[in-house]
Subunit: 345 residues, 4 copies
């Protein structure tokens, strides 16, 4: 059995981690840590655990004291909060999976420019592995410090990797129009996240300025071997969960939808969680699962490729992928504990 | 392994059955039958099964031809459609679990009055067992024909059983104000179920006339040993899933909330799926699970007891309970394949 | 022209008041006051006023300095915040319409028991008129201090007044099961009002303890001439607007739905905003209007009457009724500026 | 007074027309025609008109018989259904405003290719004026046959007109990623429009194939004087109303957000209904109004301009614009009857 600890267990990503690990046959959770709800019964915050998980959330100090009991530490904290704790865990030989943003960008400068926070352990940046499992499996197996990808980057990079790897598009033409449910904003008491402010409306946000932009560009750059700049626009949708990334790029050649779809199917042929579908993806078909559905369509009139990918932002876009990475890091079958089907309706 | 067949697999209750049985360690599904979607790949209707269940839905005739391959038949059809098929299955020694209404009422007359349909095999009514598992476990074990309860009756009977069994309330004072998500209306192309007609609104329906009324009265009557008449008002809520039943009754004695809560906890102490909680239930904490949360509160000013119960209408209110009953009928542990936690947010 | 001031203009009730008064042909708004958004342009908070209302919100001090410019002051503040300001306005001869709870209850004791706040100007309680326009029109005409009713009491009292006035029901049998959209919780940064916490769920709250209970009882008592105790249970519904009040009572006589409906139609025959309908009311048909739809149904099996009323909680349940009262206080036609039809879908 | 008739009054666009015209001071509606609901009281279909509009819907034959009583005919029918009726009305000297698609495209060929319907009165195509009021005001004044724009084209053309008119972008770089509420699908009993199929999900549809594409291209072509091809992807959003069009194009020069915003403000300086805002538009701020909010942002890193426009699809995207056009055709002030503010929350 793998002994795990969770820091930040009462945010939405943290709670989903609890949900997944509870049914994972190879994991024991040793502690649930929470800043806002230390000393509170977990099931008082999330009533779905009533009679199922009745552990008391511990504070950070108590969590740190238990590092010697665990093999892996999941951290689900806001940016800038993971530095010290990561160092402590690594020093004790605990593998770290950080669901936050602190180790995703390889460059200290880029991190500091986009996040406006000083990076306090850039010596670890070289060591950290970017955990988009499908694209980085071998490095993940060796990793002790895993930077779990952002939700938008997960959907987007999976959507664009095959055409970039195959050098099929003009790299200056990439536009990403992404849409997310409100859980992406976290469980914070903000007026802008109130039911009455989000329901019956849609809005773009972070236009040409969202922090996931450099993360997308970094990883697409690695795949293509070129310097990539994209336009990325996220939108807020009145639903709890789900991300749709609609990606546009100009084809260099005159290719058909069928040709490209086959290329995608081949690219992901060994990846259980990636389903290249024949039709158009919808977030509901992946909600509550670790799957990513991808659909492609060539617009013959403009010779653009439109790639549409959907994930559950809290699962493949956060906690599910974290567990997928943990499985990979510990030599388990990648899909262990993650084979649930999306819940519809 | 239990070999199962599903008639009506593409309605919402049918699809949930597929969802649950797919992860059930002791069941093989031998066929998925559908009236509207015969000869269609199941995953074309429900995209969440893409690459997971790619079976072709069979029509009724083909389904019947496969009755000799199965141990249990699940029927999820509208009222009046189960008669012939039930007889055929029983004659072949197949156990039948009917998720519809055709075998729930013990009286042919009451059935015909409320449903406006002639009952074509009332000789089976005596044989049929009402499958509210927690209240009828022993009979269910012996049963070959199981009438799976309606969604509202499940939530309501579980809410009221303890006080009626203990003779604590005036039986003429019972009022049930129930609320359901839209999936309770089924997957039918009705204008009244359109997004634009349901969203941002709430309405009562079937006021003093809903067909679940005699079902509730019949079962409460058995528990109390008395003839029971209730006022039952269902409401339509703009959400996919969930039922809340808010039940009111006048206490005969001056009792406290705490006293009654303890009585409920004791009543359900051996029932894994029933959680008597200390606070107020919310449908989100059971959505996607087979659980029923019950909260109680005495209104001291009027000496009424208010019992509030929540279920997922498609799981404990339909397919989950059907599987719970199957487990019981086949001697499996009752919670096999049903231990998932509600999905929140 | 009537010169008006608004205190608390940036809450939801305040904003709706701005919305209505902007199109009211007889009113000039002299200032918009806000605690949280003083010195902010109103259209920065509510973007729907961009290019329409570009006034800067004033703070309380500045608002008070302008009392000599106004004829009427609308106050939309939380409980306990209206005392001083009301006295100041009345002393200057300004009529006051308080949308909050501070002057609704006639008894200082009851107020203090339910709200847990000391009442600091109970000498005004006798002077205050309860502004359910349809039931209190003559007193409102003479009033200088108007207590605008709560949202639940408005829907509920309108639903029950005719049967209580006519002495048709057992006054000990009244149960009110009410449902409200999330805007009823106000524009406050609470986790429990987040989209992700409210969407896809329903819950009761304030069970047997909600502060609108004594308000309902007080007014029903006046109508019936008797001491009334009710059971009142509000529920939170995943929609922005709307209240449905489902009311149950035992009939003393054997009466038909038609008889009671005619009695209701007669009772409200001179009330433009009250529509007694033949069917079952739905909140969507009054959303965005000052109307109240009422439907009745006798449950012959239990001899109970079920009265269902719907309003828009922010309009007839708050700001629309406030304007209706203002019209009445100033001798205008009651429906001036309030004749908009509900917006559907 | 203008006497008007409405064909197709019970669809969502038709109903919104009724809603607007009811409060229009210069219009009498002489008949409400409906195919599905002939001989039904209008308020039985839309309960918000109870006690307000109690007219009986007439069938087509009766409607045609009343053409001699009217000055203007509004037609809100599906494509291919307006040909005969338009000819009849025009022959009687009645001005026609067609909210459908039959007269929007100037080319019979393009119409037939995209709609798959034979155009039965292409002799009228030359006569028809495309009714995007802000861009075509002078022609509209002279028009007897007005083709009211589609909802997506309205939002999109308004978003792109200023940069195309000023020749600021590479015309081969235009990508339009649009999002619509479900009312855009009309009031039809389709499973894909059910609450349970749309709620908690988002999907693209009509990818690279939507019929509004040639309409957008035709009008952008006129503005720019060039042949334009765009990529246009609509998405379905779980909300009743609203369209957001997020438009991307490559700038020819290095321009700032501020420069372009000023250019937009200048372009629309005489257009009451177009508000160029400083921030990012949200559909809720225009819901229930005839307004269009436009926001612009230059992505300096890619030198793309991102223009975001929002409208209420049923008002500015359909019925409101139809009334705006009627006002223009009859010499009324353009905003008559259309000055309502969006309803929030």
């Amino acid at each position: 059995m793998i002994n795990a600890g969770i820091i930040g267990s009462t945010g939405y990503a943290g709670e989903q981690l609890v949900w997944i690990l509870h049914n994972h046959s190879k994991v024991n959770v040793k502690f649930y840590s929470s800043y806002s709800y230390a000393n509170t019964n977990f099931s008082e915050i999330y009533g779905n655990y009533y009679g199922v998980i009745e552990d008391i959330c511990v504070d950070m100090e108590e969590a740190i004291n238990k590092f010697n009991e665990i093999d892996v530490l999941f951290i689900a904290l806001p940016q800038g909060k993971s530095f010290e704790i990561t160092k402590k865990a690594l020093n004790l030989g605990v593998k770290v999976i950080d669901l936050g943003a602190d180790f995703r960008l390889n460059s200290k400068n880029i991190y500091e420019n986009w996040y406006g926070i000083e990076h306090q352990c850039d010596e670890l940046l070289e060591k950290a592995v970017y955990g988009l499992t499908e694209l980085n499996r071998e490095k993940i197996k060796q990793s002790n410090l895993l930077a779990n990808p952002g939700c938008y980057p997960t959907a987007t990079i999976l959507a664009l990797a095959p055409i970039l790897k195959n050098n099929l598009v003009d790299i200056n033409s990439i536009i990403i129009d992404a849409k997310s449910g409100v859980s992406g904003s976290g469980r914070n008491a903000n007026i802008s996240s109130l039911f009455t402010e989000c329901n019956e409306s849609i809005k773009p946000y972070g236009v040409a300025a969202h922090r996931h932009t450099p993360e997308i560009e970094q990883e697409l750059g690695k795949i293509s071997g070129k310097n990539i700049k994209v336009s990325f626009t996220p939108h807020l949708i009145p639903m709890n969960r789900g991300i749709l990334s609609t990606c546009y790029a100009s084809l260099k050649l005159d290719l058909t939808t069928e040709y490209i779809r086959e290329l995608y199917k081949d690219f992901y042929k060994n990846d259980y969680f990636i389903k290249v579908i024949n039709g158009i993806p919808e977030t509901r078909w992946v909600r509550g699962s670790n799957l990513c559905h991808i659909g492609v369509k060539v617009d013959k009139r403009t010779n653009r490729i439109i790639v549409m990918s959907v994930i559950d932002n809290l699962i493949k876009g956060a906690s599910g992928q974290a567990v997928q990475n943990m499985n990979t890091m510990f030599g388990l079958e990648e899909k262990t504990g993650l084979e649930f089907i999306a819940m519809a309706p």
